[in-house]
């Protein structure tokens, strides 16, 4: 403990020293004087998807991994080329360019002769797509390796990664899926476990700033949309008869259902708001985490123009806060994966309701519990 405190203090002093040294460099002064850093644009740029996997760069020269661009134009058909052909703004390739501003900033546009550039069907293998595929493969490898290791000798407790994975699987199964889904949980637990680990691994990879990670995957609405739609499909395709009866003919006074079906409409809207809330919750949490980290990092560059002393202290503060926020994000990565899975399990549990034994509005204990969970979150 004492040693780690000493270490932290040492790191802090070194950081301060380096920060002041860097701030004193003439290049930085020039940058500070030259172009003002647009923090909002920088953050939005980093939060958004991109056609190449940026690794590092100093403004003039960028080191990045080019990714394939796949386009389908209405006029010229399919196109496949590397993203290194297109650079920010200026250049165009085969009549395509990356928009630098406007509605489609950062996206590929097809240049048309009449000036109204249009957006082609863009199936490019972007940074997020690559990250998704990578994390999916990683997850598959991890789980299959665990499965293999566990099933080879099921009676022996496992150590290392397999043991960790097994523990996590059992924890999610026993503490999340079993109590919330209800009695036929075994049918749903593979789906819910996949959901949990998929979100978790993508959240965690998003926290790593270097190449295997760094993509804002679960903070992208398309990703959470697919996850939420999958849950929606699972919930509504395996809903019980009682679930649908409660939607279209709920236990309310008849005048709320006939002639104007007020309650059924509310229930049907509820069908869609549940996955919608799932989608927004995960997206907003992860995106906000990335935005905070980016904002704190940009503190260093914003404060350059304020002089080296302030810049140095702001750098130290920025690093400290970034480290802190990263720990919080680590927590959030787990919590959001857990919450998404928990709510999916709750919705599944609610869709598996059985006719109440006593029809006088008395709920079964399981139902009561799941409803409570839903309200709390």
């Amino acid at each position: 403990m004492r040693r780690s405190i000493t270490l932290a203090v040492l790191i802090l002093i070194t950081l301060l020293f380096f920060a002041s040294a860097v701030a004193a460099l003439p290049v930085n002064k020039e940058v500070a004087g030259g172009e003002e850093l647009n923090v909002k644009e920088m953050i939005l740029h980093h939060l958004a998807d991109s056609y190449e996997w940026h690794i590092t760069g100093n403004g003039e020269k960028d080191l990045s991994l080019p990714l394939p661009v796949i386009l389908r134009s209405k006029r010229s058909g399919w196109h496949l080329f590397l993203s290194s052909r297109l650079h920010h703004g200026e250049e165009s390739y085969h009549g395509f360019r990356i928009a630098s501003e406007g509605k489609y900033a950062g996206k590929i546009l097809e240049i048309r002769t009449d000036g109204a550039d249009s957006r082609p069907l863009d199936l490019s293998f972007t940074k997020n797509a690559a990250s998704l595929l990578l994390s999916s493969l990683l997850l598959i490898l991890l789980v299959l390796a665990t499965a293999r290791s566990v099933s080879r000798d099921p009676l022996k407790p496992k150590k290392g990664l397999a043991g960790l994975m097994e523990m996590a699987v059992v924890m999610i199964e026993d503490e999340l899926i079993k109590p919330t889904v209800g009695k036929d949980y075994a049918r749903y637990s593979p789906y819910l476990l996949t959901l949990f680990f998929f979100i978790l691994i993508n959240n965690l990879l998003g926290l790593i700033p270097l190449l295997p990670g760094g993509a804002n995957v679960t903070g992208n609405i398309a990703v959470t949309l697919v996850l939420a739609v999958t849950t929606f499909l699972v919930v509504n395709f395996t809903g019980s008869r009682e679930y649908y009866r409660e939607i279209f003919w709920p236990d309310v006074p008849v005048w709320l259902k006939v002639p104007f079906p007020l309650m059924p409409i509310i229930e049907v809207v509820g069908l869609f708001t549940k996955p919608f809330a799932l989608m927004i919750r995960l997206f907003a949490n992860i995106m906000a985490g990335h935005a905070i980290v980016l904002g704190l990092t940009s503190l260093i560059f914003v404060s350059v123009s304020l002089g080296s002393t302030i810049n140095a202290s702001m750098t130290a503060a920025s690093v400290l806060f970034t480290v802190f926020i990263n720990f919080v994000e680590l927590l959030v990565a787990f919590i959001q994966a857990y919450v998404f899975t928990l709510l999916s399990a709750v919705f599944i549990g609610l869709a598996r309701v059985e006719p109440h034994v006593a029809r006088s509005g008395e709920h079964t204990p399981v139902n009561k519990k799941t409803k409570q969970i839903e309200q709390n979150s």
Binding site: L139, Y191, I221, V223, V226
Partner: protein, 166 residues
């Protein structure tokens, strides 16, 4: 705002990535792990159950052993008691037998002694009577040597007969 509009391209890749992951993991990943864990859980449960049963069995065996031991001890005591009793009985019987035997022998000896004594008495008596007759003969011969004396004797005897007749 572009952050809130899902990109069709990313939707497509997400569906592919998540779809592949889902298909593989739902089929070959998690059910295998869950089954293995379940198996181990069952094994542990069964082992605990077996251990508990063995414990119970052991307790029962110990109890049975103890019961058998007490039983054996009781039996031993009973046997010991029985033997003691038998021994005493035997000794008693032997003693009684011996006493009876000796009694019998004594009685036999006594009766023989009695018989011999009587025999001796009889012999003595016979001897004595013979002797007395001889003595009487001799005495009579001595006393009734003359006539007078013989007559007196006859008279007296006759008197005696008369008296007895009357």
């Amino acid at each position: 705002m572009s952050l809130l509009t899902p990109e069709p391209g990313l939707l497509f890749w997400m569906m592919i990535s998540f779809g592949i992951a889902l298909l593989i993991l739902v089929r070959y990943g998690f059910p295998v792990i869950l089954k293995a864990v379940e198996k181990r859980k069952n094994y542990i449960d069964a082992s605990i159950q077996a251990a508990r049963e063995a414990q119970e069995e052991l307790g029962k065996v110990v109890e049975t052993g103890e019961r058998m031991l007490t039983e054996a001890r009781r039996e031993q005591n009973a046997i010991l008691k029985e033997t003691t009793r038998l021994k005493e009985q035997l000794i008693g019987e032997a003693r009684a037998g011996a006493a009876a035997e000796s009694e019998k022998m004594l009685a036999a000896a006594r009766s023989r002694i009695e018989a011999e004594r009587e025999e001796a008495l009889r012999t003595i008596r016979r001897e004595v009577s013979t002797l007395s007759v001889q003595l009487a003969e001799r005495i009579l011969r001595e006393r009734l040597g003359d006539e007078q004396e013989q007559m007196k004797m006859i008279d007296r005897l006759l008197d005696e007969v008369d008296i007895s007749k009357s």
